[in-house]
Symmetry: D2
Subunit: 458 residues, 4 copies
């Protein structure tokens, strides 16, 4: 056994002893799974994160300091927020912490400093759940093992509960490793990833500006079983989420239909023509009108309509093309029916690709962990994610970013009522991230020589 | 003063003494106004009618006997019915009476017999209120004088509360007049007129089959102030109310949009093309898609859509033309998008016109009552009403029918949150109807010679 | 036989002797039938009218004097005009007369003056034929008897050939009656009635301004056989004929479809939504997109589209409503697709109704002519006609107008390749018109007492 | 100079002497340019090819033997064919040869055999021109130098004239090289490439079945100047060209619009919804409605409509998806409007990619020719070509195929009225092809060792 092997063995042992056990990981995950909260109202989730990070010795920042007020998108109506606030209190959320989150400032940032100069590694974990009614049959493990959602109609059906547990796992492991590392680590717990609503507000609060390495991870995307790993996703689709409101004029449909201005028909024609936006020669484009609601009563010309739509593009240019045409069509359809219309952007994610040097480091690290039998360097993400907003900021300022897909066996696809995953992935994910941080923050200077040097030169 | 004048004076005095006073009329009306109930759940309203008719000495029939089970259209979902049932109980509805209405059999029929052979006069009064949130400012008299709706979101905004009071007024006046009349009177209290859902079911229960004269009345249609009266409305538009459901297939809008079957776009295109059904050379046609709801989430190809539509035509033939095209378009739109669709008729009214001989009798009667300074023989109704289903049955079997518009000053148009009317119309309406019944059932044989003879000959 | 009877017999004899015989009428009609010419290029037809009127002793006016340059609508392209001009020459049109029609001034007005003061009666006759290919089988009399069109693709399929013969018949009869009449007669031979393009330009040339009685007549509308007559048509639909041009941007449909601006889709969506303009509570409205042409090649985003549309309304207000919505929809559709659009009004007719006093005179006159066994005072026209532009001008200035339908047996409906009519109607029509003029211009003052007095007082 | 260099020099000299000069090439090209003919009526072009090949000593096959009757798509109407036939005769086409092409069998195949066993190399050249009106200004060289089209409205605007000259150039060079080669060469002159109509019929006539190497070439695609070359195009889009006919029922738009069945609106809605077919997750899809024509007159409900459309897909599966949806939409739109519809496939091309081993040989050959300063191995074609039908057949049977893009300076883009190219490319193209044939058919066995061995093994 030569020196390098020895060092490696040593490192493995040290890391292994620092990692939280499966039971702790599952406990965290199942607690979050039982208490899912929708975007921007992750009150109980966020207070729990704050408390746990503090217990683990992390410095914690939250409130408007880490989430820019104006850059938040798609906030729920006040009455919903009030209701959710009360629910969080009944779930035992600490009122003092909660108070600082008033106004939906649910983002949380944990800071850990080795005390030695070195790079800053940041990781992002999402906190919000989905409007999905969880399955209630015994084939569904969360139901069978009694950790299914107690919040009717809301469910962690995208794995964010697992991400949160993973974040806390990393938080619990790192302090032990302080003697071996140089630099800092930042854990970013982001609200409102669903609908791509939250990331931009944390970027706007400047918490990405000093990051050298940004890491993101998702359970089960582009992968299907324990042991699979994509080290760097690329070809994230740029995307905008847009709400549209049409305001028409009602009239009696029998007596004087000519006096109406039909908002339903304006929305209907807009919906159809949005889907008829031409394909783009540069590559992938997407459009969807996911929700359309119009009219109040059968015998009245409908005086309002609303639509929830989204655009996507292989790059920002294609997505911008889609948005321009969307606006043109909405304006044209409104004019056709003499109705007024307005649009609100409620979410957005830009084009992005993981940095190859960083993805290669992930690959090397993964190859040291026996369970990863199929690590892939790159994969097309082909979907949208607001993590790209964070990636862009870090990359623009000279840092590097990668977004990984971590394989686990799924009971059903994401966003479905029977979604569930093999929790074995949780300690494995923590091991990957902690080993990766070891590699990036190791006191060994050669690791630093690559990207960090670039960083300083830029 | 000759004999005829004497008789006339005598009649006026007798009738006048039989009529209920303004205070009683307003009390009834305001009680119903405070307790509005939606179609097919008029539980408290109907029990109150039953009780009052019984107190006034009328024989009362209700339950499936007067409302055919299968001919009812647009029934609310069971959970709504259960909730309304409980509400009615909390409002003090008699549980014993209520029990006989279980399953939404809220129609009530009062029968009164002079004991002498003669014609049967029937009158129809509607019981249901609207999904309208009543105004809460002091300019609104029901609010100011504290009889506004205690059922949030539901309001008697179409005057049916006044119709009910009028019906009870007639019920209270007639027994006193027994010595002077020959024949019978039937008061029909119909559920679910809004949406044209209830009349057909009472027709199907055969309660119109032996009627010689059918009378209907509406406050404030085609008229604007106290003293106006239309003796016979005609040109009711034939109409069908149809619910449409589209069932598609969801898919991720970013990853594999081609796997979806877009129910939203099928509905949107159906809506547009329904409005493009050609005008009809024979006369008035109407189409409206009043409500469209589709899709569940922004980033999923919508897997369902629903629409509430209505057709109208100047006559049954034109309305049938509209319906045929509606079905053609819904089928075609479904096929275009590979989705399934189904339609349900939730209401209907046929073409109809008041009988001229009967309207002329109304005119003569109105000319005897000084307040009616502007009685009109005929007016185009130009809207739909399920009273036409009752008219058709009576007319088919050789009887005569008329539908009157009774003028009163309105605070705002029908169906609006600030709708209210001048209650002076209530005793006036009772006087008109009671005088009309006197004329139709008078022991004087010459009155009978007109329509009744026709009736027997047919 | 009293004096009145004697006078009547005398009048009948005088008129009878003045009328042209059947053979002359058929000769004129068949000559026009063989040489049909499209709107604004009635060069040979008009020169023939000029020549014949002159031969019959009428003063003739034509050229820009009777047809306002700028008020003409829907003129054909120059190359078509040039071709038609040459064709007319080959058909023997007098070059000197033709020269004065250069620029499509094909309207002709004949003036006849009794030399005595009295009212001015004007009559309108249409000159243009249709783009219809005449039937070539022996069942079609014009083919069998060898007077079918020698202008391929063009046919007198609306009876204008018969109208022209009728006009010449009147022109030939009147001079003989000079001793018995007082006042003047004007025969207006109008170009381009099809598409409602010509009447407005003759109105704009002020040739209707001094008219007391305006008469129009149409063979076979609202009637089906010899002997039928409608004395006054009413409820002409107001109508506009509009051409629309969409100008987009082409692009390769495979390589860069996003660079196109799709004029075809803009036109397609405009067409659909034009048909979805709401029905009007006031009464009849109509819309039609009769022709749509778009695109040049299968694999190019279409860069142009054109549509021919028309609106109609029961009155000018409804027609204006339709036009406003048409413009709104065309603008909106253009905006949706980022294309430019322009519209041109190529024809129009206003609302109109015949004057009852004049129609009653027609009725009285018809009752004197035994063949008219079914004269009707009024009938709904329910279609559009640019004669209404002339009626409006005369009525606005205090005169009276009527438009009559003259029954005759038709071989097939108007505008069909097998259209033909029973020529017996031709002398009958002349007899009606001449007798009517006798009545209106008789030296007997009582006839004058009605409308003419009104006229002077207005 | 070693042996290999000597051989190379020797080969170059031999080839160089065999090649036709620039003048001959330009003469051929300009003759074809002056006499452009549309698809399936390349009568004069084909007879000229037959004559020239015969003069150069080639065996020539044409008529139904090389073009399968039933597999031909998009044939012109008989009256057009007759007219073009006569035009070809007036242009001096040999009547005897022409007679064998009766019925639009214009494909021609030239066969040349070295007399020694060896592979069969086939090349494809297109014969048809486009419906484009050639520019008539002096900036356009064909006009200036007097070889522009004498067939008004038809133009060689896609370079097929240059392809034909190149084919004849190869035909003239090869016989001289007989001593050095082993195997056979087949020159395929294909009709109706525009619209992808002709290739399948030559495939169906089995003329590709024994081909070892198939070569196709296009001037100016994916390249911009002399010296550029793409050795193998890939990612041809699968495509179908479809004509659609809608048959409705006419009616008077004013009197009885309800009696019509509107073919225009059926086509318009089909057009819109065709463009709204969802994007496909697998990759590029395209749809275009390039031409839409509907209706005959402004005031008639349109009784017919026709559309020219095309689908494309990154592979056959995606193209099939598009076609299925196209049929669904056309059927649905027809049903919506109660009209009948039918579709005809008038052209098609499958997915295809050039074979890498063969493209590499092209690259090696090009590198020997100094003018090719920028040869590329592969390029995405991203458009459709019916040459892919030939490629597929050869590849299915174990041969190899490549489609090359040959750079030349263009005066304007393909299909434009000012299209022209630098004729220097013509001898360069011949040199490339002849050198390539030398390489493929050289008596040197090593060349054969690659693909040919595979061929035999498959």
């Amino acid at each position: 056994m030569d020196l390098k092997e020895k060092q490696s063995l040593n490192k493995k042992t040290i890391i292994s002893e620092a990692l939280p056990g499966f039971h702790q990981m599952a406990t965290w995950r199942r607690d979050f799974h039982r208490h899912p909260e929708l975007a921007w109202t992750e009150f109980r989730t966020a207070t729990r994160i704050v408390e746990t990070l503090r217990q683990l010795g992390w410095r914690v920042r939250f409130g408007p300091e880490v989430t820019d007020d104006c850059a938040r998108m798609g906030l729920p109506p006040t009455e919903v927020v009030d209701k959710e606030w009360k629910r969080a209190l009944t779930w035992g959320a600490d009122p003092a912490i909660l108070e600082q989150m008033r106004g939906c400032f649910t983002g949380v940032v944990g800071e850990w400093d080795t005390g030695r100069p070195g790079p800053l590694v940041a990781m992002r974990f999402e906190m919000d759940a989905l409007e999905v009614s969880e399955a209630t049959d015994n084939a569904h493990r969360p139901h069978r093992e009694e950790f299914s959602s107690v919040n009717a109609g809301v469910m962690h059906a995208c794995g964010h509960d697992g991400h949160l547990a993973t974040g806390l796992g990393v938080a619990s492991a790192l302090p032990t490793l302080q003697p071996y590392l140089a630099g800092r680590v930042r854990l970013i717990f982001q609200p409102a990833e669903e609908g791509a609503r939250g990331a931009a507000s944390m970027v706007a609060a400047d918490i990405l500006d000093d990051v050298n390495y940004l890491l993101g991870i998702h359970l089960g995307c582009n992968t299907h079983s324990i042991g699979q790993l994509v080290c760097g996703n690329k070809n994230f689709l740029a995307s905008d989420k847009i709400d549209v409101l049409f305001q028409g004029v009602g009239a009696h449909a029998g007596l004087n239909p000519e006096q109406g201005r039909n908002a339903l028909l304006a929305a209907a024609t807009a919906a159809i023509h949005l889907h008829a936006i031409p394909r783009h020669g540069e590559g992938v484009s997407r459009i969807n009108v996911g929700v359309l609601t119009a009219g109040r009563s059968r015998n009245t010309i409908p005086d309002f309509a609303s639509m929830q739509i989204e655009t996507r593009g292989i790059n920002n240019r294609v997505n911008e093309f889609m948005k321009e045409r969307v606006m043109q069509i909405i304006n044209g359809a409104s004019q056709m029916y003499g109705v007024k219309s307005s649009t609100t952007t409620t979410g957005k994610g830009c084009e992005a690709a993981s940095d190859e040097p960083l993805a290669k480091i992930v690959l090397e690290v993964a190859q040291e962990i026996p369970l990863f039998n199929e690590p892939l360097l790159f994969c097309d993400f082909s979907d949208s994610e607001d993590f790209t907003e964070m990636m862009r900021r870090v990359q623009e300022l000279g840092g590097m970013a990668t977004h990984m897909s971590l394989g686990t066996n799924l009971a059903a696809g994401h966003h479905l009522p029977t979604f569930d995953f093999d929790e074995v992935v949780l300690p494995l994910g923590v091991e990957l991230l902690v080993t990766l941080i070891w590699r990036l923050l190791a006191k060994n200077p050669e690791v630093m020589s690559g990207p960090q040097k670039n960083r300083l030169q830029r």
